[in-house]
Symmetry: none
Subunit: 536 residues, 2 copies
C-alpha cells in the first residue's frame, strides 16, 4: 500500500461554517493561492448551488492556473427526482471544476428523520448523482455523511451506501464523522473493516467535538485511508474540522507518510497565520506546530536545558514547519532566560556579572509591580538595551493632559501633549475615539515631523488586564499594546493604577522601540512656524 | 480493574506555565474553590520552593476546607546532596500539604544533558526524595518526566526509575509526555507494558504539541492508567496540557469510566468559563464541549434537521456538560432564560407577548454591541425592570468631566460630575487613584446626601475586556464591576469604545441597582449651603 496521503482542504467550504468565519470571493482566491503553494492536492472552493459568491470564485480561480484540483461541493440529488435535472448538480457541472464532492446519507436514522424518504430511494439518490457527475467527466468524491454513527447503528446499510457510490464510479469514498463524537479506536476498527470490503480508495473527514479530530484522522490513515479532509487551523462548524496544520506534520515527520514536500512543509506556519489574518480570527497562541508559543519556553529549568540541547524540551525542530524557538522571560524563569535574550540582542552579558544581576533584579522588581515581559518582547528589549545605554532619548515628557467630557448626548476625548524633541518643545492637542486613542493621536502629531516613520506604525492590538481585582476601580492595570510597521510586529507593556498612565507607558515604549537607531530629521521653517516650535 | 479515574488538576501550577497566564494568590484561591465544586480529586496549587505567591496560597487554602487534596509540586533532590536538607523539599513539608508531586528524570539523555550527573545518582535522587516525603507522612506522586521519550530510547532505564520510586513508597507513578511528541498508539503500548511490570497505580500527564493530548490521555486510561493530570481549558506551556474539559466528559459519557458525579459534570461549562475569566484569556468559541459554539448550528440544512431531532447533529446532549444548543440563524437561544429570569422578579412576562419580544430584541441588540449579561445579573435586572417602568430615576447626568494630568514626576486624576437629584442640581469634584476611581468618588460625593446607603456600597471587582482587539486603542471595551453592600453582591456591565464611558455606565448601574426602591432623603439647610444646591 502506498504511503502517499492526498490532502483535501475544505477551509473555503466547511471552514466557513465556523462561527465568525466569513470569506469574500477575493479572500477565497487569496487563500487558494496560499494553499496551492503549500501543496495540498484538493481545494474545495464552495457550493456553487448555494450562493453567488462561490460561483464567482469558481469562475475567477481558473485564471490562477493552480496545480491543486479545485473541487465544488454539493449534495446527492433531491428525492424522487432526476439527477440530470437537479439544479445543484447542474451548477457543479457549470462551474467547470475537474472534481466534485457529493455528500450523501449513510445513517438510516438520518434517511428517515432528516431526508424523510426510504432507504432504497436514498441508495438510488447516491447512485444517480455519482453516475451523473462521472458521465460529465468529473472526478467524483463521495462524502459519506455520519458514516461512523450510521455504521454503529446499521453497518449493513452504511456499507450498502458506499457500495452504491462505488458501483456508480466514485473515485473516493470519504467516511465522515459529521457530529465529531466517535473515538479513535472505533475509527480504526471501522475504517479497517471498510478497507477490507471496498476497493475504491478511502478518505477520512472528522470534526473536533471531542477534541479528537486529529487523532481520528491519524487512526483512519493507519487503518488504510489515503485521503484526509480538513481545514487550516481547524476552522469549521461547532468545534471545527480536523486541523490540517497538525495532521500534515505529524503524518510526515512522525509516521513516515508523505503528503507535501519538505520545502512546502516549511510554509506551514506562514500559511496558518496568513489564513488567520484573512479570516480575521486570532490564532490561539499555543496552537500546535504553528502557534506563536508552540516552541516558547517559560520555566527556568526548561530554559536552562533548552540552551544545552533543544531536543530536551522540543519534540521537533521548529524550522521544519517554518516556526521558531522563543525564550519567554517571566517570574518563573531563572536568569538563563534573560541571558539568552540579551545574547540574542548582541549585548555583552554573562552569568557571573554584576550588570546581569542588576538587570535581573530590576526585572524581578518590575514583575513584582505587575509587569509581564513574556508578552512584551519590545519593552524587554528596551530595558536590556537601556541597561547598556544603547537607547537614545527620543523625547522627554513635559506634561500630558487628558480631558474626557460627557453630557447627555455627547462624548469627547481630548489629549494635550507637551514634549521636548531634539531640544525643541512641541505642544499638540488631538481628539480620539476614547482617551487612549486621543493620546495616540496627540503623540503621533508631536513626533511625526521629527520621525516621519511614525506614519508606518500601526497599533494592532490593545489589551487591559486588572492585576489585583480586589482593589476594584483603584486596582492596578496592565496594558499590552501590539504594533506593526508591516515588516515587524512588537509588543509593549505598561502598568499603573491609572489606566491612562499604563496605556501611555505602553504607547511610548512602542514608538521608542520603532525608532531605535533613528535620528530626528530637520524640520523646515514653515512647519516650525505652524507647530510653534521653540528652541531650548 | 476499577473504572474510577482520579482527576488531578494542575491548572494552578503547570497551567500557569502557559504564555500570558499569570494568577495571583487570590486568583488561585478562587479557582481552587471552583475546581473543588467540580469534584476534581487533586488540586496542584504551585511550587512552594519557587516563589512567595505559592507559599501564600498554601497557607490561605487551608481555611477553605476543600474536599479535594491540595498538592504541592517540586523536583527530586539536588544531585550529590541530602533530601533532608534540600530547601525545596523542606518547603513542601512546611507548606502542610497532604500530597505532593515530585518530578524526576527517566530519560537517560536528560540525566546526562540537563542534570549532568550519572544514571545511578539520578536513581538515588528519586529514591531519597520520595522516601523523604513518605517519612513525613505525605502522599507521594512521582511525575516521571519524559517517560515516553525515555522508554523509546532506553526502556530498561526508564523502568528502573519507576521501580526506584515504587521501592521508596510512591503512591502514584505518573508517566509524562513532557514534550508532547508521542502518538496515541505508542502511549497505549508503553502504558500497557508499564502496567504489567509495576504494581503501583499509574497516571498519565500529556502535552498538546501534536494536538493529541486528549487522545493520548484516553489511550493511557484504556491501557490501565487510573489518574489523569491536566488543566482546565488545556492551559500550559507551549501548546498546553491535556484539557480536562474534554477528557472528563469523554471518559464519563462515552467510555464508561467514572470521574465526577453527573451533577458536577453539569458544572463543567461554567467552570471552564470562570477560569477563563479569572485568567483573562478569551476562550476559543469552538472549544469542545464547553465553548460557546460547541453546540451552535449555522448551516441551514443542519438547523432544519436539528429542529426535527437534535441527535441528528449533536454527539451528546449539551445539558450534560452544562452547555446549551444555539441556533445561529434565529438567535433565539436565550429567550427561555430571559423569561425565567423575569418571572423570578415577578414581572408579567410570557412567551407570546409583544413586551417579551421587545425586551428580547433589545437584549439581542445590546449583545450585538458587545454587552454580555451572563456576568452582569444586576444590569440585566435593571433592564427588565425598566421595561416595566419599575425603576425610578435616581439622578440625571448633566455633564461629566474627567481630567488626567501627568508631568515628569506627578500624576493626577480629577472627576467633575454635574447631576440632577430629586429636582436639585449637584456639582461635585473629586480626585482618585486613577480616572475610574476619581469618577467613583465624585459620584458618591454627589449622591451620598440624598442616599446615605451609598456609604455601604463597595466595589469589589473591576474587569476590563477588549472586545474587538483588531481596532487597537480605538477598540470597544466591556467593563464589569462587582459591588457589595455586605449582604448582597451584584455585577454590572458597560460597553463603549471609551473605557471611561464604559466604566461610568457600569458604575451608574451598580448604584442604581443598590438604590432600587429607595427615596432621596431631605437634605438639611447647612448641608444644602455647603453643597451649593440649587432648586430647579
Amino acid at each position: 500500500m502506498t504511503n502517499a496521503i492526498s490532502i483535501f482542504d475544505t477551509t473555503l467550504r466547511d471552514g466557513t461554517q465556523g462561527e465568525g468565519i466569513s470569506l469574500s470571493a477575493d479572500d477565497k482566491l487569496k487563500i487558494a493561492q496560499k494553499l496551492d503553494a503549500l501543496g495540498v492536492h484538493y481545494i474545495e472552493g464552495g457550493n456553487p448551488g448555494s450562493n453567488g459568491k462561490d460561483i464567482e470564485f469558481f469562475q475567477r480561480v481558473k485564471s490562477l492556473n493552480l496545480r491543486a484540483k479545485i473541487t465544488a461541493f454539493g449534495s446527492t440529488r433531491r428525492k424522487n427526482a432526476q439527477a440530470e435535472r437537479d439544479a445543484s448538480l447542474l451548477r457543479i457541472v457549470e462551474s467547470g471544476v475537474p472534481a466534485a464532492t457529493l455528500v450523501g446519507k449513510t445513517w438510516d436514522f438520518h434517511v428517515h428523520t432528516a431526508l424523510q424518504t426510504t432507504l432504497e430511494e436514498n441508495l438510488a439518490m447516491i447512485y444517480d448523482s455519482i453516475a451523473f457527475l462521472k458521465s460529465r467527466g468529473i472526478e467524483a468524491i463521495f462524502d459519506a455523511e455520519h458514516f461512523f454513527d450510521g455504521f454503529k447503528h446499521n453497518p449493513d446499510y452504511a456499507l450498502a451506501a458506499l457500495r452504491k457510490a462505488q458501483e456508480a464510479g466514485a473515485d473516493w469514498l470519504v467516511l465522515c464523522d459529521t457530529n465529531g463524537g466517535t473515538l479513535p479506536g472505533e475509527i480504526y476498527d471501522i475504517v479497517t473493516r471498510v478497507c477490507g470490503e471496498l476497493k475504491t480508495p478511502i478518505g477520512i473527514h472528522t470534526h473536533n467535538d471531542c477534541e479528537l479530530a486529529v487523532a481520528n484522522s491519524l487512526a483512519a490513515v493507519q487503518a488504510g485511508a489515503r485521503q484526509v479532509q480538513g481545514t487550516i487551523n481547524g476552522y469549521g462548524e461547532r468545534c471545527g474540522n480536523a486541523n490540517l496544520c497538525s495532521i500534515i506534520p505529524t503524518l510526515q515527520l512522525k509516521m513516515n507518510y508523505s503528503c507535501i514536500s519538505a520545502e512546502q512543509l516549511q510554509q506551514l506556519t506562514s500559511t496558518a497565520r496568513y489564513v488567520s489574518e484573512i479570516a480575521n480570527v486570532a490564532m490561539p497562541v499555543g496552537q500546535p506546530y504553528v502557534g506563536n508559543a508552540a516552541f516558547a519556553h517559560k520555566g527556568g529549568i526548561h530554559v536552562s536545558a533548552i540552551l544545552k540541547d533543544s531536543k530536551t524540551y522540543e519534540h521537533i525542530k521548529p524550522e521544519l514547519v517554518g516556526n521558531k524557538q522563543r525564550i519567554l522571560v517571566s517570574e518563573l524563569a531563572g536568569q538563563s532566560n534573560i541571558i539568552s535574550k540579551a545574547q540574542e540582542l548582541g549585548l555583552d552579558i554573562t552569568a557571573n556579572n554584576d550588570k546581569t544581576k542588576e538587570i535581573i533584579d530590576r526585572i524581578k522588581d518590575l514583575e513584582h509591580q505587575g509587569y509581564q515581559f513574556e508578552g512584551a518582547d519590545a519593552s524587554l528589549e528596551l530595558l536590556l538595551r537601556e541597561a547598556f545605554a544603547e537607547v537614545p532619548v527620543i523625547f522627554e515628557l513635559e506634561s500630558l493632559k487628558l480631558l474626557v467630557e460627557k453630557s447627555k448626548d455627547h462624548m469627547m476625548s481630548e489629549a494635550i501633549v507637551k514634549i521636548t524633541v531634539g531640544g525643541e518643545s512641541v505642544y499638540t492637542v488631538a481628539e480620539g475615539n476614547g482617551p487612549v486613542n486621543a493620546l495616540d493621536h496627540a503623540l503621533r502629531k508631536a513626533l511625526v515631523q521629527f520621525y516621519p516613520k511614525i506614519n508606518d506604525i500601526h497599533l494592532t492590538d490593545y489589551k487591559v488586564r486588572v492585576i489585583d481585582e480586589k482593589d476594584a476601580t483603584a486596582a492596578k492595570v496592565r496594558v499590552l499594546i501590539q504594533s506593526t510597521d508591516f515588516q515587524n510586529t512588537w509588543s509593549t507593556v505598561g502598568v499603573s493604577s491609572n489606566v491612562i498612565e499604563a496605556s501611555w507607558e505602553a504607547l511610548v515604549d512602542s514608538f521608542r522601540y520603532a525608532l531605535i537607531g533613528m535620528e530626528p530629521v530637520e524640520v523646515s521653517t514653515p512647519v516650525r512656524e505652524q507647530l510653534g516650535l521653540v528652541n531650548h
